[in-house]
């Protein structure tokens, strides 16, 4: 039916578009009819009575000539013309029906052609991302032992192809070894969690000179410092990486705490990552169960008040657990899946792979504000993308309004922003962030930090 419809459409497509275009035959017939009509010749006294101002229309009573009406031939021609017209009209009607059906089909096809998600890349690099994703998923599912260094490698290697697992692992183990040697040198008890943390802090935050058996002189490690340039890796994404920190000696608030936790993992110490607005730091428990913060961007121990004051943290955020809350190792791996999504976005732009990652992250770490931020941004941009497609395909506003899929997406965007606000998210501009890092670094805070460290070392030895 459809095929014949299309065929018919093709055959009629020339005649259908104009309003009424009579064929040559019809014109001929009409002309003949007009010509053969006798000219009205009216005698004077009747001129007033019989007035033909216009050409008579078919359907009205036929004019009667003086010679006794129309000839047979005329009548036949008129009948023929009428039949032709009726057929023409019926054909036109049919064609319009076919055309309407065709339009409907085309519109449906166009709507189908609107992509409701970004295309997924199919490259060899994508396979690498998928492999990392699968391994992280297995780690989260419990099929593979959870290892932070491995997970970090899986994320970084997708962006930085030169990186090998052995290189990263060895660098971490080296620092762990130095920490152990430092512990022995200072006489800190080796089994205690607190002494391990103090040693890692010392190695990462201060110049440490130790004697190792395989070196003739003393081994000196230098503090790992904060890189004020591009702290969130906007221009260069590798700024976020631990391997960048290890190779250049400067890092940011993502890589510094991450390295701390990796060394802690190698030593078997218990330390936790915690978030503040656009910031992360390390939290650990002392012997009395009180929580303390390690701020590696400034190499000091900070108080909760400090983070809350300068980090613009709201009480709702603390209550909902998105900020200033120590996260477990599984949650940290889930956070790394978010970073995998960010790395993917840096290379491919927005893709459904990102939502796949955030979905996995949110199942294992429901309070992850990072995943929610990625999602909200993703869906906002997706709606823009669909709007653009609608404009390009010339679809109408009504069609856009009636599109259920778009409506659902817009609803999703609105609710995700509302959820983020409700969780107590606060935004910190980059210049203010750097100001905060600098403001923390004053003598008063240093003194406080030194006191905290002294107290803690005393408490270990007690």
């Amino acid at each position: 039916m459809k095929a014949t419809g299309v065929l018919l459409f093709l055959s009629l497509s020339f005649s259908v578009h104009a309003q009424v275009t009579p064929t040559a035959d019809m014109k001929k017939a009409a002309k003949v009819t007009y010509k053969t009509l006798p000219a009205p010749v009216i005698p004077y006294p009747y001129r007033e009575l019989r007035k033909y101002t216009s050409v008579p229309v078919y359907g009205s009573p036929a004019p009667v000539s003086r010679h006794g009406g129309q000839s047979k031939e005329n009548k036949r021609q008129i009948a023929q013309y009428e039949r032709d017209l009726a057929e023409y009209r019926s054909r036109q009607q049919h064609a319009q029906g076919v055309l309407a059906e065709f339009d409907r089909d085309v519109a449906a096809m166009n709507r189908l052609r609107v992509a409701y998600d970004y295309p997924m890349p199919h490259t060899r690099l994508q396979q690498k991302f998928e492999a990392s994703f699968v391994e992280l998923q297995a780690m989260l599912g419990g099929d593979v032992p959870v290892e932070l260094t491995r997970a970090q490698y899986l994320v970084e290697s997708t962006y930085d192809h030169r990186l090998t697992y052995e290189l990263l692992k060895q660098s971490v183990l080296d620092l762990a070894y130095v920490s152990q040697v430092f512990m022995k040198k200072e006489g800190l008890p080796e089994g205690a969690n607190l002494s391990k943390i103090m040693a890692i802090f010392q190695v990462m935050a201060d110049t440490t000179t130790t004697k190792v058996p395989w070196m003739e002189g003393a081994l000196t490690t230098y503090p790992l410092l904060y890189d004020f340039d591009d702290p969130w890796g906007v221009k260069d994404f590798t700024k976020m990486f631990v391997i960048k920190l290890l190779s250049t000696g400067t890092g940011n608030c993502t890589s510094l705490p991450r390295l701390f936790l990796m060394i802690a993992e190698a030593l078997g110490a218990e330390a936790y990552l915690s978030f503040a607005p656009q910031h992360s730091y390390v939290k650990f428990q002392d012997g009395f169960g009180e929580w303390h913060n390690v701020e590696l961007t400034n190499q000091m121990f900070t108080t909760d008040d400090h983070i809350m004051e300068y980090g613009w943290v709201k009480s709702e955020a603390v209550r909902s657990g998105i900020y200033m809350n120590p996260i477990t190792k599984t949650e940290l791996i889930a956070h790394l899946v978010n970073e995998l999504a960010m790395s993917h976005q840096r290379i491919f732009g927005n893709t459904p792979f990102m939502t796949k990652c955030t979905q996995l992250a949110l199942t294992h770490y429901p309070e992850s504000i990072f995943a929610r931020q990625i999602n909200a941004n993703y869906y906002t941009e997706l709606v823009d993308y669909i709007v653009k497609q609608y404009q390009e395909k010339g679809l109408s506003q009504d069609q856009f309004d009636q599109d259920q899929k778009v409506a659902a997406l817009i609803e999703k965007v609105n609710t995700s922003y509302l959820t983020i606000d409700e969780l107590g998210y606060s935004d910190v501009p980059e210049d203010l962030y750097n100001q905060w890092i600098k403001a923390m670094n004053n003598e008063e805070n240093r003194e406080k930090s030194r006191n905290t460290m002294r107290q803690m070392i005393q408490s270990i030895n007690r």
Binding site: D305, H306, M308, S315, V318, R319, G424
Partner: protein, 377 residues
Amino acid sequence: MKFLFSGIVFFVLRCGFTQGYGLYDRYQDKPTRDSYEQAFHYLNQMLIGDTVVSFKNAVYTVENTYLNGKLDYDTFNVFISHYAHTAAKFAAKSNLLYEGPDKTNMQKLGSVFMVMTATEPLFLDSTHYLRPNPFTYDFDDFWGDRDWTKMFVSKLLATQKGNCHSLPYLYKIIADEIDAKCYLSFAPNHTYIKVRSMNPKVGWFNTELTNATFPIDAWIKSSGYVHLDAIRNGLYMDTLSAKQEIAVCMIDLAKGHERLFRSKQDTEFILRCANTALLYYPNYVNALLLKAETLKKQFEHKMKELQVAYPKQAFKDPVAKSIFDDMEPLYARIFRLGYRTMPKEMYVKWLADLKEHKEKYLNKDLIHNLTQPNQTR
């Protein structure tokens, strides 16, 4: 004309109210225990849902019960409606530079704040203005140690001076009258107002009435020595629901009872109030503390009865043992929730701190949004 008339009535009544207030501290006849039972019953009915929940009525009931029925409900109402009327009138004409779907609510709240704290005349229309008479903080006996009526909203209305208990209560009552949405919130020994703005650049913000400012959360956290766990568990800096406000009033009632009948055995009423309040507001720190302290008093009384010096010696007595078993986990729970005691000197320092470092703790985001309207997201 009607407004002018109500104003005259208000001033006439105010004189009477202020004079009558003098009677408060030298009442001859104590309120009976029956009146306390009645008040408890009324508040409990609100909590159960038999009566309409009204914070104003609950506050009135608590204060009237302590004052032995000397507080006239109509007079109390005229005061409240005067401020509510003025605030509504001011809200209708005010032109707040704020953008968001909840602009009317913000205008109402802003006008309540202005009516309570304005130091300059407020012009309501072409012929009327509000004489500036701001409510101020009363540094004398601010925890009501000597005179419990210092905590009362009626005292605030009569003398224009209040504390961190009565000022936010009055704000909340006026806001309720004109259907403005805001919430009470607690900090250590302190109460303040929290508001949710639908403008995402502002979000939640605090209104502090003792100093008439809008401080950020960090002020309450850092200078108030709030433990992080206390925030996480909703002990402090969390908003109250309508029923939780009534539960708070119930604890106020119990504290009044404790003040009036200083008998060590008669703790049943107080415990009943605390338990009822805890049903509706499980992490209300004052209810938990009142319950724990009352149990402690009971236990100490028992120890005296048994004539023993150490708690362990009293454990032979089954009643004493059960009291101790109730009390100890309660104290542990209060500590675990993040409560730490705060000395009085520290509290005064804290309040003064906000005045000194106003720059540091002011909610600049909010101020910026009110002075320069931004586009919403």
